[in-house]
Every structure is written in structure tokens, then in C-alpha cells.
Symmetry: C2
């Protein structure tokens, strides 16, 4: 399966695409970061992010999208923009009927490093090793997006399959 | 000018359209509330809200959109959904190049009632009087959306004109 991982943010929105299945080596397909200047109005920044996500979805046609789950207790100065960027990412995926899974930072850290409290450097190092890359993806948002995609593949996408089945059932009802 | 006011929320998203200019009686064009069941997944709820907002924009072709400004200190249990619904509303308006203004609850209360700490009932009563309605719009989200549109017209849309000019300048640059 091919998964697009998204680490949402207004200033930097990380996007990583990974191919693979549980128990086999995973492959990096694409990684990049959408950046928007803080001088822009928030609506414009969100539209720019939407266009960037749509372009990646068009190009890579993922089977599922994994987005970082945001908590209301996160950094207050950036939480609103992060939540809004995550909302835009969800809408982009849901409009296409793609399964969407939200993974918490702890789940992602635990999945790739075995330690739910791993730091950025540890996550980056594990992503580099898992995808057999020559160098650590930078910035951290890029590595985090790849870690989200890896987490999703390793968890077997069970939750997203359940959600998709429920969504399909509702559409038929 | 015609303004679409949006009181964002996942469970209830209020939308009110008001016609008028400063110093003249204002007219109610439309008011309604988009509701999504809490049993739905968040991405589906956001897509449903997006469709509802798009339908109102198509139908009423407003000159500007006024959205309630959300603060990170708001009710933690609903803040993420509210922020995401607000983000979707911003994207819908910005994609069409419409001027967008964010007004805080205090600004709206002060504009329609003269009291920045007015309660829901006072805001509803003033909206009813300003728009010469027979009954108070319900639920409160509907009245709040109309109050946002009224606030925007009475403030002369100055901020949104500045934002639109800046956005246009950037597009040309």
C-alpha cells in the first residue's frame, strides 16, 4: 500500500509518501515540505497548503492518508494554525474518499523507534534507517511526515479500513 | 454589500446572509445551520460542512465573508473541531478570492448590542430588532452568524478591503 503522511502546520507542512506492506522493506516515494510565509493572511496560507496537498494526491495517488492527531493542550501559539492545516488535509483526503487515520505523536514515536518519548533526532535516525536513506530527511517536519506514513503501514491500516467501511455503509444507507 | 457570516462549529455551523450598508436598514437574506452527527468521522463532517458553505456561496454570492475568530483558550473539548471548521470556511471563501474578516465574540457583541459582554439572549434580541424579524433566529449559532454579518457591514468592511488589496498586490507581484 502507498501512504501519504502529513505533519500539518501553517509555516511548514511536512508531506511524505511511502510504499510497502507489513513485514517487507518500505520504500520512500517522495518527501517535501509546504512552506507559507507568516506575512500572508491565514486563509491564503490554508489555500496554498490545500493546493500543495492536492498536487501530491494527484501525483502519487496514495491508498490512505495518515495525519498527525493534534491535541488542544499543544503549543498554544501555533495550535490554531496547526488544527486548521490538519482540517484542510482531512478535507482533501475525505473529498477523494481516501481512508484517513490520525496517529498521535506518541504512537508514531513508539512505532518507528520503540519509544513513545523518543526525541526528534531519534525519530529522524529511525526513519533514515527504515527507508534505507543516505541522509536524514530535513527539516524535522519531513521526517515526521515519513514517520506517520511508516506508522500507518506497520499498523496495517486497520482503523482506516474500519472507517472506510463505515463511511461506505453510510453512503449506501 | 452582501455579507455571509459564519459561526463555525462541527456539530452546528451557523450561516447568516445580510444585505446592507452602514447607516441604512439591513436586510436578512438567509439564515441556516449546518449540522453534522458526532457519530461521523471528523474528515467526513468537515467535507459536509464544506459542501454546505459552498452551496450558500453559490446561492447568495456574497461580497465578503465574516468568520468568528477562535482563540486557543476557548472550550478545550470543542476547540479543535471549531478551529477546523473555521479553517474550512476560510478556504472556501479564499478560493473564490472573497475578502475574509475575522471578528472576535467581544467585537460582535459590542457591535450589535453596545456591550462586549452581552449574553446570547441579548445578542439574539438585538439581531431580531436590527433585521426587523418576527422572531429570534434559533439556535444561537444562527443568531451569532447574523450578528457576525451585521458587525462586518457596520465596521464598513475596512479590514477586509485592506486584506483584499494586499492579496491582490501579492498576486500581481
Amino acid at each position: 500500500m502507498r501512504v501519504l503522511g502529513i505533519d500539518p502546520g501553517l509555516t511548514r507542512c511536512g508531506m511524505g509518501v511511502v510504499d510497502g506492506t507489513v513485514g517487507r522493506p518500505l520504500t520512500l516515494v517522495d518527501v517535501n515540505v509546504i512552506r507559507t510565509p507568516s506575512a500572508w493572511a491565514v486563509p491564503e496560507r490554508l489555500v496554498y497548503i490545500e493546493k500543495g496537498i492536492e498536487a501530491r494526491l494527484d501525483e502519487h495517488q496514495p491508498d490512505a492518508v495518515a495525519i498527525e492527531r493534534i491535541f488542544a493542550r499543544s503549543d498554544v501559539s501555533t495550535i490554531m494554525g496547526t488544527a486548521q492545516a490538519a482540517g484542510v488535509a482531512m478535507v482533501c483526503a475525505a473529498r477523494r474518499g481516501l481512508p484517513i487515520a490520525l496517529h498521535t505523536p506518541s504512537e508514531v514515536k513508539a512505532a518507528v523507534s520503540g519509544n513513545g518519548r523518543a526525541d526528534k533526532a531519534q525519530v529522524g535516525a529511525m526513519v533514515t534507517r527504515i527507508l534505507r536513506l543516505d541522509a536524514m530527511p530535513k527539516p524535522a517536519d519531513a521526517a515526521d511526515a515519513l514517520a506517520l506514513a511508516i506508522t500507518h503501514i506497520w499498523r496495517g491500516g486497520a482503523q482506516s479500513r474500519i472507517d472506510a467501511a463505515l463511511a461506505a455503509a453510510r453512503t449506501r444507507a
